[in-house]
Symmetry: C2
Subunit: 158 residues, 2 copies
């Protein structure tokens, strides 16, 4: 395990006020807690990325891989192996699209839907724990500020 303790207390200098540094530190904390939660799962659970994919499929049944890739902010080609792995585990299914024979309509299998619901519960618990030092209002503020920094939320330049 990485030691992020306060052992040597290095001065952060210019880093202290930089969003990039702060974001990366928190990301490490979040990912470690996510992994800890999933470690108790019999089948090993899912990674944060895999959970995100399943959540988007659950919310948009039948969406195609390109749209999913955009939603996750990765390339189409990157998505292929992710779906391969979930499909091999019987959690996700590539159905033939009715309108466009090039594309796949992604859906959760019955088992995938069951697993997703269980994992969603775990993830909500994880969410509560990592934000336990914040009030509900502060957590909402944080989510709002982060959402506003996400360019995807902005209208495109004219």
């Amino acid at each position: 395990m990485r030691d992020t303790g306060m052992g040597d207390d290095v001065t952060l200098g210019a880093l202290a006020g930089l969003l990039g540094y702060r974001l990366r530190r928190v990301q490490v904390v979040v990912f470690e807690d996510f992994a800890r939660v999933m470690a108790d799962e019999a089948d090993g659970g899912v990674t944060p990325g895999q959970f995100g994919v399943m959540a988007l499929i659950a919310a948009n049944p039948g969406l195609k891989q390109t749209a999913l890739a955009r939603g996750m902010g990765v390339e189409r080609s990157t998505m292929v192996a992710v779906i391969d792995a979930l499909e091999k585990r019987g959690l996700v299914l590539r159905k033939d699209s009715a309108e466009d024979r090039r594309s796949h309509a992604l859906v959760l299998t019955a088992e995938g839907a069951r697993s997703y619901e269980r994992w969603l519960g775990l993830v909500l618990g994880h969410e509560r724990r990592i934000a336990e030092c914040l009030s509900d209002v502060e957590r909402e503020q944080l989510l709002d500020l982060l959402t506003r920094l996400d360019r995807r939320q902005l209208p495109t330049d004219p």
Copy 2:
């Protein structure tokens, strides 16, 4: 370039309120803008991780690799190649430590210090741009909330 535009507007579902997802999205935005800023540099500039290392050395001249690794939240072994690359470019120097002959005292070279000051200016501009949709107060709030989520900032459990 990754397409994070609003093309297909997928419903985020449970993801919308999850810090892990929001953090990752913003991280992508931040890293892309950082890369854009550095692309104009004659020598290619530095990566966010390399900049962080140089900032910590600048703020803590003479610190050893283990302390630096802790400050960056990575393993000692991971740090080796990072410093190798910076040392090969003449930006960082491994000096012999006076007290402990096992460890190295890390310092910026004269050129490293000059480059760091220039890059710091670029990074502060980058910082201003990615947070341009936030007021100064909101940016400070965001930094504060992120800092509080960073376990390193918390007192260790008894």
